[in-house]
């Protein structure tokens, strides 16, 4: 099941509604549902921030594959930008040195089981997987 969303922060409510429907349909537990919501929000908002140009669309798909949810975000008509390769944020410093930049991707890396990027035909495609029973 896939749906297209305008690449804008204003789409977030509709994105969450779509995810809630799909996660309920797949009987995802609360921890898996939280992780997918968070990962999609972080990735979608990064796409809004970093993909300049026209307000074109992002297609989000949620499928079940065995014991895993497979979530795909297709960012249409963008330059290549591999979020999965972003340097790890330093989470060890004191308060004054802590930053929010990079924190979202850190959370995604830690909270999902797989996190991949590929670039095809002008589209940036991110795939994440999450075990359902978690």
């Amino acid at each position: 099941m896939k749906r297209r969303f305008v690449r804008s922060i204003d789409s977030l409510t509709d994105v969450f509604t779509f995810l809630d429907e799909r996660l309920a349909a797949q009987n995802a537990g609360p921890a898996a549902a939280y992780a997918v919501n968070l990962a999609v929000e972080e990735l979608f908002t990064n796409m809004v921030k970093y993909s300049s140009g026209r307000r074109n669309e992002v297609t989000i798909g949620v499928e079940k594959n065995g014991d895993r949810l497979v979530v795909t975000l297709v960012d249409e008509d963008v330059e290549p930008f591999d979020m999965t390769g972003r340097a790890e944020v330093d989470t060890s410093g004191p308060l004054e040195e802590r930053k929010v930049g990079g924190l979202g991707i850190h959370l995604v890396r830690q909270m999902v089981d797989e996190f991949h990027y590929r670039y095809e035909n002008g589209n940036g495609i991110i795939t994440i997987t999450k075990k359902l029973e978690q």
Partner: protein, 97 residues
């Protein structure tokens, strides 16, 4: 949707979802805090890095004034996000629900 209530006793209560669409509304409340403030998470279901950013910015500003935020009553899933972000070492988090 996020609801933020600044109570008469100075405590802030959060309920709902603290996501990237709620940053401006949250800033409007947190930017007004000038002293040590308890933030009650009991009815908060969800927070992402956008919400963490509002809290971090506020904690840094208050720290410069000799004050801080005290975060209370987090549910387990929200607490996990603080742990993974290692925000549990830069905030005082009171356990218990």
């Amino acid at each position: 949707m996020l609801a933020i209530l600044l109570k008469d006793d100075g405590e802030v209560t959060l309920s709902g979802r603290f996501d990237a669409s709620q940053v401006d509304a949250a800033d409007a409340v947190f930017d007004r805090l000038m002293t040590t403030t308890r933030v009650n998470f009991r009815d908060l279901d969800y927070i992402s890095s956008a919400g963490l950013g509002v809290l971090l910015k506020t904690q840094k500003r208050l720290s410069g004034l000799g004050h801080n935020l005290i975060l209370t009553h987090m549910n387990k899933l929200v607490r996990d996000v603080f742990r993974i972000a290692r925000f549990d070492v830069v905030f005082r988090i009171e356990e218990g629900t």
